[in-house]
Every structure is written in C-alpha cells, then in structure tokens.
Amino acid sequence: MSETVKLVCIMCPMGCPLQLEHEGSELREVTGHDCNRGAKYARQEFTDPRRGLSTTVAIAGARWSRLPVKASRPVRKEQVREAARRIHALRVQAPVRCGQVLLKDLLGEAGLDVVATRSMDRAAKETPASS
C-alpha cells in the first residue's frame, strides 16, 4: 500500500508543495515540483535528510567569549541536536585561525570535522576596570 508525504521545496523562494508517494522505504513518485531541483530535493529528503550546522564554542583569551564554528559537511538531520551538544562541550584558546579544525570525526563520522569560521587573535592585555 502506498503512502504520501508532503514537503515544501526549499531550493528556491517559489516554495512548490511536493508530494512524495512511497511504499515503505521505496520512493515511487514525486509530484508538485516545478523544476528538477525540486525532485532532487524530495529524493534527498526522503532517503538521507541532512542539515548544515553552525554554532559557537567558548573561547578563552580573545576579545569575544564565543568563537563561531561549523560542521565541515551536512549532518544527518536526526543527529543535529546531538552534534550541537558535542560541539558545545568544546573549549578553545585564542589564537585561532579561520578554517582551523577544532574536532575531528564528530559523532564518529569520518571526515566530519568541526572548523572555526573566524580568526580570533589573543586579546591585548586586559585594562583594569578602574582606568
């Protein structure tokens, strides 16, 4: 017996309503897309949905207290929260260069790294609050 899943295509602002007909894990038909990108998106979402993940980690010794970071490639959708939790546990020390790998093989996935998305120098010596 075939079932239908509804999605909104996000590949462009047109936002076509997509319908995915499937039997179990087998995708039968995609309808509602206005172009091929929509069909491709539907297939990807059905078989292996992934999301880009960017967040921040604590940094010591820099002007700011948070350093922006990202996962080097999209994370499986159901693992986004867990990945974010693991990344938050990181503590780094300035200086850091943009692109520097801070953690390798996130969630045990080979090649999925956490990289800094900004360079941060060591902050100049802190001036006493009274000055």
Partner: protein, 427 residues
C-alpha cells in the same frame, strides 16, 4: 592596516561592514590611492560577524559561507590592498569646504576628536532593527523585550542567553534563524507569531529553523499585550482580522520570560540627514544616481543604508560600484550626468538607482509589492522579461545594456510587473 588615521584621504568610507569593505575595494580598483574605512565596532565585518549561520556568498564566491567567513575574506582583501581601517570610532559629522572637498569629523577611542579631509565619501552605515516603539505593543515595560538581532549578538558573540522561554514576534529571517539558534542553545522557543497571513522569511528558513524543531508558526496573529513588572512574565497573543486589529475575544496568554522582535529593518541615515541629503520615502535611504552618488556631490551610498538587501552578495556588488565611482571622482574623472529617471510602476515598490545614463551597463535592484507568478517585468517599451515568480521578500535584479537605452527618447522610464496574461502586445 588597522588603527592608523592620516590627515587626508582620497576616499573615506563610513562603516566597515560588507558594504564599507566592498566600497573601499572598489575605490582601490578605480586606481585611487588612499582609502580609509571608519567603523564603530572593535572589528570590521559589521552584522556578518554575528550571523554565524551559512548561506552567504553563493553568488559572489560560488560557495556557501557563514557570515564571519564572508567578512574575513573581505577583511583580508582590505589588508592586501593597503586600505586603512580605523575601528572603535564614530563619525559625528561631515562638513563641505568651498572647493567641494569634505571634512569628516571622527571621534575615536585612540585618537580623540579629529578631522579627516576626503575628496569623496561613501556612506555604508547599514541598517538597524525596528523596535517595540515602531509597532506600539501595549503593556508594561519589563526587561526581556529585545530585537532578534541584538539577541543574536548576545548569543553568538558574547555568550549570553536572553532568557529561557522565548516568544518571537515577526517572521523575518533573523527571527527564524534565532528560533533555531536559541533551541540549539537549550532555550525553549514557544512560537513565532506573524501578523501577516504569510511568512516574511524564506521558505528555507521556515522549514529548517522552525519545522525541523517543531516550533509552531502562527500566521495572522500578533502579540497584543506584554505583562510583567521587572521581567516579562507572559504575553497575550490574539489572531488579527483583515484590518490587522487583534480579536481579543480569541486571545490567549503564553507564560514566557523573553519576547524577541523580528519586525523589519530601517536604513540608518541620521548622518545622511544631517548633511541634508535627499532620502527616498519608500526605501528610507538616499536617492542616488546610476553612479550611486547621493544628492550631495561627492557623497555616495551603498548597502543597507541605501535600501535593505536580502543577500550580502548584492551588497558587495553594489558597494564595489559605489567605491569605483567615488574613487574616480577623487581622481577628477567625471561621468556624464544621468538623463533618464526610473518610475516604479505597477506592483513595483521601489527601484534603485533612481536615474540612469545611456553611457554604460546598469544593474537595477527592485522589490515587488505582492507575490505574482508567473509574470512579466516590463521596462518602458524597451524590454520585457518573463519571470517565473516574484515575492516581496526577494529583491529582483535587472541588468540593462547601454544599446537599449541609446534608442530611448523619453526622460522617464517606467518599470511594471504585470501578470503573464497581460502585455503580450508590448514588444
């Protein structure tokens, strides 16, 4: 170089965000010698530094970058091109000398109050967020009511969370992105409320920032009252009718400690106004010629101070152009004056620039008033282009070639967006 402040420059750029950095680079590309960027923050990069999510650079760099990465690439270019960048400073005024050159008054943490001579000035101050006062939400005035962009800076740069239980009013992209950010940071986002019957943000953000995390989006609903003495305790939300008034008979209370507002952006033009520069009522930014020069000769504008963009890539392209013309002027190169005025016609909210010259290629940026699909973009009787769709949230970019304008006789060119079925007879 960071921090040096000389007495005189060819081009001074006010603002060190993507527009300011682009303008400075454009000025250097034109062959101009000495270029200065003044910025009020400790690091140049502007709002990009707090936009840690990705989605920047697809047009300009052909890859998807986060905000800080996009900013850093441009900052590196400014260093490579010997552009002076002075952070931690504020431009308090600009005076015009009898020979047309400008004196920029700078207040700087390091150098005190200084005047800097400039042949051309580029305004690149960006925009700011609309606040509670702009929509007059009734209620008390407790702590915990803040704009989404401010919350973004607190969370992403300073490591402070604005609260624990959060309601968001307005479905602009910053609000949607903050809904996801705060959820990943462990806050509870109780819902996003939008007074319009459609979301103001990109579908992509509605899906990936709300639906992925099970955060409800309530359309045609607004926050009708804020409660709490010292801190927000709850908000009253109510559906709105066609007149946008809340229907209090169907109101309900949501206990929360924070209300984030994502209700629109306004170009930041206090400095432009103090110079007497003519502003466009609709964009909120200066009126500009095709060289992006404002009504004050030698003063140019680009980026969000000119009109609010949705893609930084377009800001960069606009800024490179403004910088180039500012740099040319500083070298004494004068372009012929524009002689064609652009009129925003049917379903066109605004167009930038405001005038054109047949002398060179132009890029016109515009926004529609309402969604339409499919449709035609009609430029006087010169050009018709089929568009699959237009939506107010997405800026439309149109390139016009000089040969097209050479044939044009009139002095004003009207741009319309009409339904597909109309306008067959046009060309």
């Amino acid at each position: 170089m960071l921090g040096r402040l000389e007495r005189s420059y060819d081009v001074v750029v006010v603002g060190g965000g993507p527009a300011g950095m682009g303008a400075a680079l454009g000025a250097r590309d034109s062959g101009t010698g000495r270029v200065l960027i003044l910025d009020r923050e400790p690091d140049p990069g502007g709002i990009l530094l707090q936009c840690v999510h990705s989605g920047f650079g697809l047009h300009y760099f052909k890859e998807e970058l986060t905000g800080p990465e996009y900013a850093e690439r441009f900052f590196t270019k400014t260093i490579d091109r010997d552009i002076d960048v002075v952070p931690d400073c504020y431009v308090s005024g600009i005076a015009v000398d009898s020979d047309g050159s400008k004196r920029v008054r700078v207040m700087s943490a390091a150098a005190g109050l200084r005047a800097v001579q400039a042949r051309s000035v580029v305004l690149a101050m960006g925009c700011r967020e609309r606040t509670r006062g702009a929509i007059r939400i009734p209620g008390t005035r407790p702590a915990g009511v803040l704009t989404a962009g401010l919350a973004q800076k607190l969370v992403n740069m300073k490591g402070c969370l604005p609260g624990k239980r959060i309601v968001i009013l307005g479905s602009g992209d910053i609000g949607l992105i903050m809904a996801r950010r705060l959820t990943l940071e462990g806050c509870e986002v109780l819902g996003v409320f939008e007074v319009m019957p459609y979301s103001n943000g990109l579908t992509r953000n509605v899906v990936q920032c709300l639906e992925d995390f099970g955060i409800p989006l309530h359309l045609s609903t607004t926050v009708a009252y804020i409660h709490g003495r010292d801190r927000v305790e709850k908000v009253t939300v109510a559906p709105v009718g066609p007149d946008f008034r809340p229907d209090m008979s169907r109101a309900r209370d949501i206990p929360c400690d924070t209300l984030l507002l994502s209700i629109g952006l306004i170009p930041e033009n206090e400095l432009s106004q103090s110079l007497g520069i003519k502003l466009d009522e609709i964009t909120g930014g200066p009126e500009v010629s095709s060289t992006l020069e404002t009504s004050m000769p030698g003063v140019y504008a680009c980026g969000n101070v000119l009109h609010v963009h949705d893609l930084v890539d377009f800001v960069t392209n606009e800024a490179l152009l403004a910088g180039r013309f500012a740099g040319e002027r500083a070298q004494g190169i004068r372009r012929p004056a524009d002689n064609i005025r652009i009129d925003a016609g049917d379903n066109v909210r605004y167009c930038v620039p405001h005038t054109l010259s047949p002398e060179r290629e132009h890029t016109i940026y515009m926004r529609c008033k309402r969604a339409m699909k499919p449709c035609r973009l009609r430029v006087g009787n010169l050009l018709e282009k089929k568009l699959r769709f237009v939506v107010p949230a997405e800026m439309i970019m149109l390139k016009i070639q000089p040969d097209l304008l050479e044939k044009f006789q009139g002095d004003s060119l009207r741009i319309d967006i009409v339904p597909e079925s109309e306008g067959e007879s046009g060309v």
